[in-house]
Symmetry: D3
Subunit: 330 residues, 6 copies
């Protein structure tokens, strides 16, 4: 099979006490899956693309849970490796309300995915004919072998003629900015579509200034054809807005801005990225359309429990451009 998008990275269990309960006093946990690279493969499949996700999972009931989840989203999970004596990373999420911010307790060390190393997947075969390859700054942060694999992945993708997309996604609990910068620089050399945030850009690359300044510094250093920066406003813990700014062929483009209820803001960046890539691939690279589509998809995502945005392309189009219509759809 040839894929529209192939992603590589980690699949994690996401456990959260319902309705603002604190982890410290939890009674039950809602079960979801997360992992940025899995999210992108799943979201793009939701929108109708053929996607594959590459990872390693423990060969136990939790690994099967993760695999069933991927398949349920329409992602090709046939390349996933189930390995013995491994664990599935776990995130415990506590949903807050103003002024208590939401919170994540990570328990992801030594996961099956962190043991991914070059050679685990035959990229040349899997990426053959693929249109786009995606990974991000979390995956290489999992371990040294993951760093090596991420670099191998983007190089293979480049060789295979894929568009290469990458989200800076810095996570402090994984590695230092210095380590992240060193590895990401190697990756970004091969990247066609680069996505970042103001905070990530400053921490990892030391870029300061306005959104435009940051995006231009990225361009000056790496020359990626498309560079996007996501602009999240947190009015408070339960309400916010989303917009994006892109640089493409020298011109700056703002996506449409959306006000949102923050029902579940986890995976928000991934959903924008997924929507953008979907629209980019299906519009012959119309950047304005892709930005707007990504923003709408991302806004819808914030209203849905879980990290994956179970929304069809028709639903996204229905809220784009139109004047706001909050009436019941019958």
């Amino acid at each position: 099979m040839t894929y529209d998008i192939v992603t590589i990275g980690e699949s994690m269990l996401r456990l959260s006490p319902p309705r603002y309960e604190r982890i410290r006093r939890m009674r039950t946990l809602d079960v979801h899956m997360c992992g940025s690279q899995q999210n992108v493969a799943a979201n793009a499949a939701r929108l109708g693309l053929k996607t594959a996700f590459l990872t390693k999972l423990p060969k136990n009931a939790l690994g099967l849970y993760a695999k069933d989840f991927c398949m349920s989203c329409g992602v090709d999970a046939s390349h996933i490796k189930m390995i013995d004596e491994a664990r599935l990373g776990v995130n415990f999420i506590e949903f807050g309300a103003t002024p208590r911010a939401s919170r994540v307790v990570y328990d992801r060390k030594n996961s099956a995915a962190s043991t991914i190393c070059p050679g685990d997947f035959d990229f040349d075969v899997i990426l053959s004919g693929a249109r786009l390859a995606y990974t991000d700054g979390i995956f290489p942060g999992l371990s040294g072998s993951c760093s090596d694999t991420a670099i191998e992945f983007v190089r293979s993708a480049k060789r295979a003629g894929c568009v290469v997309a990458f989200d800076v996604n810095y996570r402090e609990h994984l590695w230092s900015p210095q380590m992240a910068r060193q590895v990401q620089k190697e990756i970004i050399k091969n990247v066609d579509i680069l996505i970042t945030t103001q905070w990530d850009s400053e921490i990892v690359f030391g870029y300061k200034g306005s959104y435009e300044d940051i995006i231009r510094q990225f361009y000056d250093e790496f020359g990626c054809p498309v560079i996007g920066i996501t602009l999240r406003e947190n009015h408070d813990v339960l309400r916010g807005a989303w917009q994006t700014l892109l640089l493409h062929k020298g011109s700056l483009t703002y996506g449409q801005k959306y006000e949102m209820d923050l029902i579940d803001r986890f995976g928000g960046g991934d959903s924008w990225c997924s929507g953008f890539l979907y629209a980019y691939l299906t519009s012959d690279g119309d950047i304005q359309y892709a930005a707007d589509f990504g923003d709408a998809f991302c806004a819808l995502h914030h209203t849905i429990p879980g990290d994956v945005c179970h929304v069809t392309a028709d639903e996204v189009l229905a809220i784009m451009g139109a004047k706001k219509d909050f009436r019941v759809k019958r």
Copy 2:
């Protein structure tokens, strides 16, 4: 027994995944009942009136569920017919959050109620002594025999000396505007209290212009003694406001406006109608009081899960007119 209000129509199962979950990823469903004409009978009974609801239900566990529900609200369900080989209509509701609007998937075709036909109920007996009869534009849209029955119902009511109340309530999934208009014209001839919205009025009757314009066009064509139009503002998906405008004896009256959290906005129009009719009947037709009472009842309704507004008249009076008091009631 003589009733304050008799309504005729459909009782439907209302199933919704909890807390913003999408139907596509549902795990459990919350169970409620809906149906505009049932809602009005139930709401009026909650407020203390003697009401009866006329419908047909399948003779199975789902039909018994529906009947038990009616009785639990204090509605006289003794006229309901339980029939073999029939089904209960089902609504699947998905609650949204900004910018994702709420959504209904209807699965109501061929319901027991759609088989209602003239002669199923002895209106002359049931309506004898009744003060008010109510149905709406959904019921005649269920089938041709329901159209005929609705016309028979309002005519019988008129004959029996009842006040006849009717809500335009157009539903696109049931019939075309042309068909709706044709049947509703026949009904509205007999109507004393007509309730509508801007959207319904334009779609079905082609009336355009301001709220006042619409209400006056209705009056000009049908001459109903009381005409009300409901004004819903959707600030976003979770917050809105409610108000109504009425025409009575040539003068226009605005009800009190309420800001609301939209916990469950389904059945909102029915609740206003119920509150208005209750207050109208218990105040000797004081339109301002009835509008204000309806608005307050409707605002409370939006905060309660389910289509029926389980609120007492005392609770409504407590929030009317008074300056806003959001403190805990102890």
Copy 3:
């Protein structure tokens, strides 16, 4: 892609109040999927086979739910047709306890699947290279066009060189025994593996006598190479036993008998069938092994909520033959 098993039929929503609650007093509903032919495709995929399921679903959130479910089990859902203006069949299940038997309220009429007709699927392409084709006596009972399609399906399968498997599965709410017999006779002519129960056999074909007598009457009339009859003992509502008897090449074989807690007995027959077919295909037709495997898989199925048996082949093998071991597996 070439499949191990292709099945055709219906996918239904299965809604049940939790923990012995009556439908009449339900507060919430647990959501599962059912449908015999979908169950067989899903179970076989759980065991590791490549399977496809053919059906029609409504093009709405419920249809997407059904499709996501199929995919989550590893079934190829790419041939499923999403159609407008259709509905998904619904089963309401009420779980009983001794002496109150469990109960199903069917609401499946006019489902999307009932509109399946010859020509909807290109069987020659889909079945090309497939090893086995399965349907049952429920699917042709959905409508006349389904009857025609079922006959076309088994004929195409025969032509394509598939093993053809069929479960009599008579449902009184769908059609009369006479109608079922007429259509099934036409189907069974093409069947290699026939599965039935004592009750189905008597009602539809008038076969009486012992299990052995029934199986032999089937053989005498139709000459199917493999004939299985499933033997369910209901000790009471919550406890039972399962065994099967098979006729193959003139000799009778009993599968291993299992005592079971009846946590969820729906889909039990389908799970035996699935386990049997899996083991038959992977053992070069070892009937004793296939019967034993089917019995073990079916016994495990009865302990798992839902119609599909989410169990791996390793888990089945672990309870076969061994002396009973009910200790915790750590």
Copy 4:
């Protein structure tokens, strides 16, 4: 309205942690209603009789909950008095499993019902034309005024020509055996149908010996036309059997015995009583039929969560006499 059965007594909130959780570690509570006399009115209404329940409830949200519940079962709740400054009695139930017996923590003192006193209800009007009046040994145990009212109730019923039914139902937490005996003697003088258990009979009246001995001692002392004793076998905490023995016109009759899963055994005695009274009234006093019907109704009751047996007469008849059939009803 004229009633088939009128009962008087108490309505209590019944709160229980789900699925064997201890009260000491509860996280949520399932909400049901209980109260023997309410149970009898509700059960009989479920079976199709016209029943009324007489009690006093607090004029608050809990009282409204109780009243809505009564109405949902089809009981006429219009005679119930809502009073200020009162409380609703509460039962906390902890469901056990072998060998931990189930347990009740009563918090019922000073309930609204305990303030019922002679004159609160106009028995002559309410019982006029009624066929049967029921109360039990719990109601007079609530307070001195309840004792007086219970005596007044049975006397009025007698006067009105009702069959008078009474269940001894001794509760240690309410009063001493001496007090109970004194009041009950006064009541039983007027009783036509007396129901008791071995334990109650010994504690309150000092009757010892076999079931037959006890029943005869009752007859010798009070001469009630029908005397029934319920025989519960507890095989363990989750499994048991139910049967009854009756004395009528000098001859002893055993009802049919049922084996049962004890999903919820609370209200079991009340359900037998209800089923018996229903069948007695609808069969012109056929004692064997009434006993069998009561036993079957009671057995079904044990499988349903809550104190009320939401079962139709058809469902009861379906399991009577027939050979056991535990298969799914489709």
Copy 5:
């Protein structure tokens, strides 16, 4: 053991239907504990102080539930007396949304705590070495013996050299303003830290005017060294703000104001009081710091289900003073 804070009062069960459901239509109840004086002991223990709570509980499963809860918060529950034939007070809470205010149905009469009387606890021993003693205006309102005990408690505390803190907390359902004033005057004579609200101050003491006016009238009458008044703004039912004003050594101090989502506003005043007392004790009486800490703690409290604020001191410090940061904490 010597304690930082000792409180005396009542422990109550707090039952609430989930997610805006009305008590009248409840299906399940969430279980929490409440009681102002217990809340203060629990909150202070959450922050790291050694605290003891003095009360009487019923010697049954509910009493054990309450005791386990206290212990789970780190409160020393060893002085609590478990008594026979007693009941645990219960609060039923209904959470509202705009414009329906939240509501409490109290069922607390004749609780075990209301039987507390002088001599039940050896205050001289328990308070020996303690730094602070706390009770409020609810506890003495439970009964005459509780009034006497409250007075004894503050006098003993004074004797033992404790800082004595008291919250006016007037509850209309317990006693009249006259009775409250009489007892509270006796108590406040011994109080070092007095906490009140505008409403309580006017009702009980007749103080009118601005917040400053009220606080000064308290000072003029009682001369308490520290007097605090809490300022709650209810923007609507789900959104509000919190601030406090304190008088200390003649100067007025405002704490920091917080905007809040009102997830669970019960126990809000107690949480401010707890945070203030904690910070007061750990900062050598820095009033500005204590007010700010209390306000932050209280704001966090409003976002957490239940009456107790399960928050660490570090979490409070993290939101104090800083510019608002509503991003996810990873």
Copy 6:
């Protein structure tokens, strides 16, 4: 403070899908705590003893959850160390039904507890005056430093004059039998009360034969004053029986046997051990009484969700010796 029992070991989160759901298809998880040594400290505290539990927990919300849980059971958690950069071990439990055995997926590697090393706790101080010290074969299996600490712990206990109790508790996923044997031999030298099972004894020490044979081989090799072997019968997955055999001063004693519903059998061995130790300490070493008490406590434990047996000593005594009484306790 001086303790009755001090235990050392691990505290783990225990997550399980409700009601027989498979982990592979979980939707929510019930949250409990487990860990044998924590269970013993908690159970003994439930029965009224003063206990302390020694462990290390991560300094995050999960660690606080664990600590709050310990405190809620009445265990002194003040010696527990909260450490940075650590994780809490997690067990995922899947509850089975016949013939599907229950199953545990361990995710406990690199837990905070596994980093416990000699010197972390000042045993001489903590055990000073303690009556009994307990650990088991799981704790030393966590890591080499835990092995060393376990040995140090029993030696310190011996020195401090404590009774030393030890449960062999072999876990294959932690270490090999050889490694376990080597460490356990060193520990058992200091043990006064040794507890084991047939399976553990054979795997770790190679002891074969009857229960009596095994117990005598232990005595011959180690000479422990009290040796107990627990006898679990699994009738099937949901029903079993429990009994124990003890060797003390040369004579063999059987405890009372209990039939049980296996609602939650995890922690069963720990509960027997806890009940036995409690009764041993409070009866001056009456072995028969202690065995019987342990068996009754353990049987009750199997009916309660979670690893800890929230049962009072009075409840245990009520089911001991008496003839079985499964009636409701009112």
